[in-house]
C-alpha cells in the first residue's frame, strides 16, 4: 500500500496546448494517504477519467509528477506500478474458471500455487463467490462478473492502489447497494488505498472517506461526505451533491447583509472578502421549512417520493426546492419559507463567502 502524491499535474490531449481550455486537467495537486478510501466525483468530461488513467499509467501527463510513497512513477508503464483496476464493464477471461481468473494476476507474477490457492480462497470468501470457483466465468451474471473483476484487483496483497472506474454502471439498481456495501466492507477489511471514480454522488459519498469533486479539469472541493453536503465550497458542489441539489438564489448585499427578493436573509456568519460579485445565497432543500410567516412563495410542483415530498416553489421567478417531511401543501398554495440560519450561506462568483459559526 502506498501514499499517492500528485504534484503540479497538467494534461492536454493536444500536442501543443495554448489556452487553458486545451487542457483536460488544468492543475492538480493532491495527497492521498495510505489505506484511505477516496472518490473522484464529477460530470462527464470533468477530467476524472484522465486523472485515473494518469495514476494507473495508461496515460503519461503533459506536465507534473505522480509519486507513490515519494517515488516518482510518472513514466512507468501500468504493469510496473503495482496497481489494480476495476473497469466500467466487467473484464473477465471468458475461457477460464472463476478460480483461474482470480489466480491470473498472481500466476503472471510467479507466485507459488500454494500461496495462490490461499489468497484466492480468502478473496472468494470475502466476495461470497466460493461456490462458483470451479465454474466458467463466461456464464456468470453481470454483477457476479463484476465481483470477479473486483476480486482480481484485490487478490494481490502488494498493490499500491486499487482503482475503480464507475464499476457499478452495468449493475442492476437492486444489486448496486449490495456491491457498494461489499466494496465498503472489503475496504474496511483489506485497508488498501482505493480510488473510486464516478459521476454518481450516492456511490461516491457512500464509498469514500474523502471525496474529490472535479469540474472542467479542476478540483473544486475535497472533503468528507458530510462537509461536502453541509458546507459546499462552491455552488457547483452544492448543486452536484444532494438530490435535489442546493438552491442557489441571486441576492443583493447591503451593509453586510444579504437581501433575497427584498427580504433580509440572515446568514450563518459574517461575510468575508471585499470584492463581492454575482452574490448568491445557497441553501439546501433539506434546510428550508414551511411556516406561518417568512418568504412568500407559490407552490408549483409537488413530488411525493414516499419518505418525504419535494415541493417546488416560485419566488419572483426563482425556483426553490423544499423537502417536506409531513403533509405537503397543494399545488398553487401560497406558503412561507423559513431558512435555517446556520445552513444559509453566501457565495460570491460561485465561491463560499461566509465564515462558519457566529450564528447558530
Amino acid at each position: 500500500m502506498a501514499k499517492i502524491t500528485l504534484s503540479n499535474l497538467r494534461h492536454s490531449y493536444y500536442p501543443n496546448p495554448k489556452t487553458a481550455d486545451d487542457f483536460a486537467l488544468k492543475q492538480i495537486d493532491l495527497d492521498w494517504q495510505d489505506g484511505g478510501a477516496y472518490a473522484l466525483l464529477g460530470p462527464s468530461g470533468c477530467g476524472k477519467s484522465t486523472l485515473l488513467n494518469i495514476i494507473s499509467g495508461l496515460l503519461i501527463p503533459s506536465e507534473g509528477k505522480v509519486l507513490f510513497d515519494n517515488k516518482d512513477v510518472t513514466n512507468l508503464p501500468p504493469d510496473q506500478r503495482n496497481i489494480a483496476q476495476v473497469f466500467q464493464f466487467p473484464v473477465i477471461y471468458d475461457t477460464m474458471t472463476v478460480y483461474d481468473n482470480l489466480a491470473f494476476p498472481l500466476r503472471n507474477r510467479g507466485v507459488n500455487e500454494a500461496k495462490i490457492g490461499e489468497r484466492v480462497l480468502e478473496i472468494a470468501g470475502m466476495l461470497e463467490v466460493t461456490d462458483m470457483l470451479q465454474t466458467r466465468a463466461s456464464g456468470l451474471s453481470p454483477d457476479n462478473k463484476q465481483k470477479i473483476s473486483m476480486g482480481r484487483a484485490l487478490v494481490r496483497d502488494d498493490v499500491n492502489v486499487v482503482m475503480f472506474d464507475e464499476p457499478l454502471t452495468v449493475i442492476d439498481p437492486h444489486l448496486k447497494w449490495k456491491l457498494r456495501s461489499k466494496l465498503k466492507e472489503l475496504h474496511q477489511r483489506v485497508r488498501a488505498t482505493m480510488i473510486y471514480v464516478t459521476h454518481d454522488q450516492t456511490e461516491a459519498l457512500t464509498f469514500a472517506d474523502q471525496v474529490v469533486v472535479m469540474q472542467m479539469g479542476e478540483i473544486v472541493q475535497i472533503g468528507t461526505p458530510v462537509e461536502l453536503f453541509e458546507r459546499p465550497n462552491h455552488t457547483f458542489v452544492g448543486h452536484f451533491i444532494g438530490s435535489p441539489g442546493m438552491n442557489v438564489l441571486p441576492c443583493e448585499i447591503r451593509e453586510g447583509r444579504a437581501f433575497f427578493n427584498g427580504v433580509d436573509v440572515p446568514l450563518e456568519g459574517e461575510i468575508r472578502g471585499k470584492d463581492l460579485a454575482n452574490t448568491e445565497i445557497g441553501i439546501r432543500p433539506e434546510f428550508i421549512s414551511l411556516g406561518p410567516k417568512g418568504i412568500e412563495a407559490k407552490v408549483r410542483k409537488v413530488s411525493d417520493i414516499g419518505r418525504h415530498s419535494i415541493v417546488e416553489v416560485d419566488v419572483a421567478g426563482s425556483k426553490i426546492a423544499v423537502v417536506v417531511e409531513d403533509e405537503p401543501p397543494n399545488l398553487g398554495d401560497t406558503v412561507f419559507l423559513i431558512f435555517q440560519q446556520d445552513q444559509t450561506r453566501l457565495y460570491s462568483e460561485g465561491w463560499l463567502a461566509t465564515r462558519n459559526g457566529g450564528a447558530s
Binding site: P173, W177, T206, P225, L228, S243, S303, D304, I305, I310
Partner: protein, 392 residues
C-alpha cells in the same frame, strides 16, 4: 392474475364512435391512427407472450391513459422491455388483444401504429444532422415541408436543441443525443410514446434534470406515455401511474404514491423499495405481535388479524437508530456496513437470520460488527399472509 384498474373509456364515448369518428378523419395519411388530445387510451386485454416453452409475459390486462406517465417498474428481466415491445408491435402477442383508442391494433404492424420508442442507448441516425433526425419520422409520414420545419423547430425548442440542429449526433454529448431522440418522439406527435429506461446511460445530474422536464414535455400532448425504469425512486419522482413488474407479471397497478403506500402483496412491496424493504416472520397472538425477542401491541386494522404466522415488511426509513416515540419497538441488530451520503445515513445489519437496513436523515456513527439498537415504527408495518397477499 389479471388486474383491472381504472377501466372505462375516456369521455365515456363508445368504442365504435371513437373508431369511426376519429381514426380515419382524412385520406392524407392512410393507415395512420391520428391522435386527438385526451382521447387516446392503450388497453391490453389478457395479453401473453411466449418464446419457445418460456413464458415472457404472463396474462396481463392494463388500461394506460394519457395525461400522466405510466411507469413500468421492475428489475432487469422482469418483462418491462418485453411488454413494451408487444405494445409497440415489435413482437407479436401469443394471445390477447391490444386496443389503441378502442380499436384493435393487435395485428397492426409497428409502422402503422403511430408510436415512438426511445431506448436506453441513444439511437439516432449517425449520418443525419439533428434536424434530419428529428424530421425523419415526419418525412416518412409524408408531411409538407413547412409543417416538418415547424414541428422540428418546436420540438427542438422544448428540448433546447436549437443551437445544435446542424450538428451530427457524434458531435453531441450523451445528454444531447438522448434529447435528440426524445425530440424525434415529440415532433412525431405519436399516439403512444414508449420510453425504455431512457435515462439509464446518462450522468446522475443530467438524469435528474431530464427526469424533471420529461413529464412537462409530454403534458397536454394526448399521447399515452409508458416509461420503463428499474429505479423505484425514479417512479416516485415521475408520479402518474405505476405498474410493478416481476417475473413477467404486473403485480400491481395504480397511482404511483398510492401503490407505494399500499402494496397489495409482498412481491409488490419488494419491487417498489430501494434499499430493499425489511422483512421478517412474525407471530400474531391476541393483541400482540412477536418477532424474535421483540413484541409489541398491535393497533388499528392489524388487531383484526387472525392469530398465526405472518410476514411483516417495513421500509428502511421507518427503522431508525434513535428512539423518537414511545410507540417504537426496539430491536437489536448487528451492524455489517454503514454508509453515509450527505444528508442520510444507512446501516445494514443482521437481525437473527434476516438482513435489514435502516435509513435515517442526519449523521449517525455506527461501529461495524457491533450490536446497535434500532427502533421501528409499528404503525408502518405491512402484514402479508402465507400466500404473500396483504393481510392488513
Amino acid at each position: 392474475m389479471t388486474i383491472w384498474l381504472r377501466a372505462g373509456r375516456p369521455n365515456n364515448l363508445p368504442v365504435g364512435a371513437l373508431a369511426g369518428a376519429l381514426i380515419w378523419p382524412g385520406r392524407d395519411r392512410p393507415g395512420f391512427l391520428v391522435s386527438r388530445k385526451n382521447t387516446m387510451a392503450l388497453e391490453l386485454v389478457g395479453i401473453t407472450k411466449q418464446v419457445g416453452s418460456q413464458t415472457h409475459i404472463k396474462e396481463t390486462s392494463l388500461v394506460l391513459q394519457p395525461g400522466h406517465f405510466n411507469v413500468l417498474l421492475g428489475e432487469t428481466g422482469a418483462g418491462k422491455t418485453s411488454l413494451i415491445k408487444l405494445m409497440a408491435g415489435l413482437d407479436r402477442v401469443a394471445s390477447g388483444k391490444i386496443l389503441m383508442n378502442g380499436q384493435d391494433v393487435t395485428r397492426l404492424s409497428t409502422q402503422k401504429r403511430n408510436i415512438s420508442l426511445v431506448h436506453q442507448f441513444f439511437v439516432n441516425y449517425p449520418h443525419m444532422t439533428v434536424f434530419e433526425n428529428i424530421a425523419s419520422p415526419l418525412r416518412v409520414a409524408g408531411f409538407a415541408k413547412s409543417e416538418i420545419e415547424g414541428r422540428v423547430e418546436a420540438a427542438a425548442d422544448v428540448l433546447q436543441l436549437r443551437p445544435f440542429l446542424d450538428r451530427r449526433p457524434h458531435e453531441l454529448s450523451g445528454g444531447q443525443q438522448q434529447r435528440c431522440a426524445l425530440a424525434r418522439a415529440i415532433a412525431k406527435e405519436s399516439n403512444a410514446v414508449f420510453l425504455d429506461e431512457p435515462l439509464a446511460n446518462l450522468d446522475y445530474k443530467l438524469r435528474e434534470e431530464l427526469r424533471d422536464q420529461l413529464p412537462e414535455l409530454f403534458a397536454g400532448r394526448g399521447a399515452v406515455v409508458v416509461y420503463a425504469t428499474s429505479e423505484p425512486e425514479e417512479a416516485l419522482l415521475l408520479g402518474g401511474n405505476t405498474g410493478l413488474m416481476n417475473d413477467g407479471r404486473v403485480t400491481q397497478f395504480g397511482e404511483t404514491a398510492e401503490i407505494y403506500r399500499n402494496p397489495m402483496d409482498l412481491v409488490s412491496a419488494q419491487v417498489f423499495s430501494d434499499p430493499p424493504i425489511n422483512t421478517a416472520r412474525i407471530e400474531k397472538l391476541g393483541n400482540r405481535a412477536f418477532f424474535g425477542a421483540a413484541d409489541w401491541e398491535l393497533s388499528g386494522d392489524a388487531m383484526g388479524l387472525q392469530d398465526g404466522i405472518y410476514t411483516m415488511a417495513i421500509r428502511p426509513n421507518y427503522v431508525l437508530p434513535v428512539n423518537t416515540s414511545d410507540a417504537f419497538v426496539p430491536v437489536l441488530g448487528k451492524v455489517q456496513v454503514a454508509e453515509l451520503s450527505g444528508s442520510q445515513s444507512s446501516a445494514h445489519f443482521t437481525l437473527g437470520a434476516e438482513n435489514w437496513v435502516s435509513l435515517s436523515s442526519g449523521v449517525h456513527p455506527y461501529e461495524i460488527g457491533q450490536e446497535h439498537p434500532f427502533y421501528m415504527n409499528p404503525a408502518k408495518c405491512f402484514f402479508f399472509g402465507p400466500d404473500g397477499k396483504r393481510a392488513v
